[in-house]
Symmetry: C2
Subunit: 306 residues, 2 copies
């Protein structure tokens, strides 16, 4: 089980063998295909080679700020051909979970969102009512009257039954206070994902997990249910949509604690770690519990053997 991962960079035969054993490749994006706005060399060609071999490509992203359509545009703008159907994001995963799986009383169907437009779009796509999010009336400092109105409940919508945290570039004190009071009144605590960092410009920036962190602290350590990687709710939804044999699928990612764990816990046939994102060296999984089955310096290294 804990066999050493196979290093594929420069191993022409190994790469061929690797590709042949899978029908489906699930790709994390940030840190794998690109970092921020920098597309890694060889990304486009590698995907093209896989498509030409008839492989199913799925872009599995924990990025909650973009809807599937927006994310597809990001992919194509970066020069990566993609369709909306190939995109599976954590906001979409959360929307599906809320609309189809989560039992909520009819009077408590509204979602209070800590996050960006992408979450709102995906909730809309599943007809889930929501407040908060990008509401401009919440883009301001807290005022004295807010304390009174939040405490009394006058500022709260009684139909809110869920607090959904994603990455919110406009996080502020007022929104954290509102979210906390909804949780205190019994709302279900969900997160699109709980990545603490987000790679950009070859560095790390605050991820969705940092937007949930203040609430987790206030709730005495109670964590949200995450609907992004490594949550298996997301894997089940992906399998339900694409209908593949898990042993013939490979998860490709840069993060051990989300991507690689997601693939291992999902029982996929393999996991491929790239060293262009959060994980920077093979030493990082030594002695750890989450070890990929393959790794390369960068995704583009797969071009060599094909």
């Amino acid at each position: 089980m804990a066999a050493s991962p196979k290093y594929l960079t420069g191993d022409r035969e190994g790469i061929k063998e690797f590709i042949d054993q899978f029908d489906v490749f699930l790709f994390d994006c940030d840190g794998v295909l690109w970092s921020g706005d920098h597309l890694f060399e060889g990304t486009v060609k590698t995907l093209e080679i896989l498509r030409n071999k008839g492989k199913q490509i799925v872009f599995v992203t924990n990025n909650s700020t973009k809807s599937r359509t927006e994310y597809m545009k990001k992919l194509t703008n970066m020069g990566i051909p993609a369709t909306v159907d190939e995109v599976f994001g954590s906001s979409y995963s959360a929307a599906i979970y809320i609309s189809r799986i989560l039992p909520l009383p009819p009077s408590q169907k509204t979602v209070f969102v800590l996050g960006e437009k992408g979450i709102e779009t995906e909730l809309d796509s599943e007809n889930v009512p929501h407040i908060g999010g990008t509401d401009p009336s919440l883009q301001r400092p807290i005022e004295q009257k807010d304390y009174e109105e939040i405490a009394s409940g006058a500022a709260l919508d009684p139909s809110v039954g869920v607090v959904l945290c994603g990455l919110d570039f406009h996080i502020n004190y007022l929104k954290i206070a509102l979210a906390y009071h909804y949780l205190q009144r019994g709302a279900v605590f969900l997160a699109t994902n709980i990545d603490t960092t987000l790679p950009s410009a070859n560095a790390l920036f605050p991820g969705a997990g940092t937007c949930a962190a203040p609430l987790v602290a206030m709730m005495g350590g109670k964590k949200p249910t995450s609907l992004g990687k490594p949550s298996q709710a997301m894997m089940d939804a992906i399998e339900g949509k694409f209908r593949f044999e898990r042993k013939r699928a490979c998860m490709v990612g840069d993060r051990l604690d989300t991507d690689i764990r997601f693939g291992i816990e999902g029982g996929l046939g393999g996991t491929l770690c790239v060293l262009t994102g959060v994980t920077r060296a093979a030493e990082e999984w030594k002695g750890g519990e989450t070890v990929p089955s393959f790794y390369v310096d960068k995704l583009g290294d797969l071009r060599v053997g094909v």
Copy 2:
């Protein structure tokens, strides 16, 4: 050691005996004297009685948003006579720690502040250079160029050697990103205090601990050194200033994990828990490690026995 706390409400003799055994009373404020802008009944009279008996009063607050002078004004505006010297706040405690105790290289003396004016005022009072805080240029959403400039270091001040987190009502993504990059470059991680909640309007709102929480999450769980209650750095500074016998001092507070723990770990002669703030019932300390030596329903109950 783990004797049951003595309940003083309505116990005239018990209250007299309680007061007589102390020379110094350290008071937490929010949740003890008032909640938000609501002064509890009997607060003023109780303090007056203690002063008339020659007791030293110290207002020990983890409120980091106000300087000692501002806090003294808050006290007097609430109708509570107080002098600046009687106020001991977590921002002041942090400023003293940074200026007099923390060893920093001469080129790394600047503090990046996540917090409000009170922290800046207290740092100024100790001649500690600082950036961040209430700087209006940081009161905006993050922009694309920020990612590049933060990642490259161009947007970072190389003289920053400390990140100090207090309660920041204007917390935003940009400031969290900057603080994280300073920490990544080796800045010392300090907090004025780590209370996760702040009582106001008879309810709880996000406390300073929620401003540090995103950074703690990004740093893989690494916590800041806190200079507020229950940190004994604060107790040492208070004792250094007021020079009292610890066995003749009593800490009065509403929070077990900060106030009562602060008094117990500081070896004070007693701790008094009031049930007007975070702690609402005697059941809350049952079976726990932090048990006060006395408790009352509200501070004003001490009037009865005097």
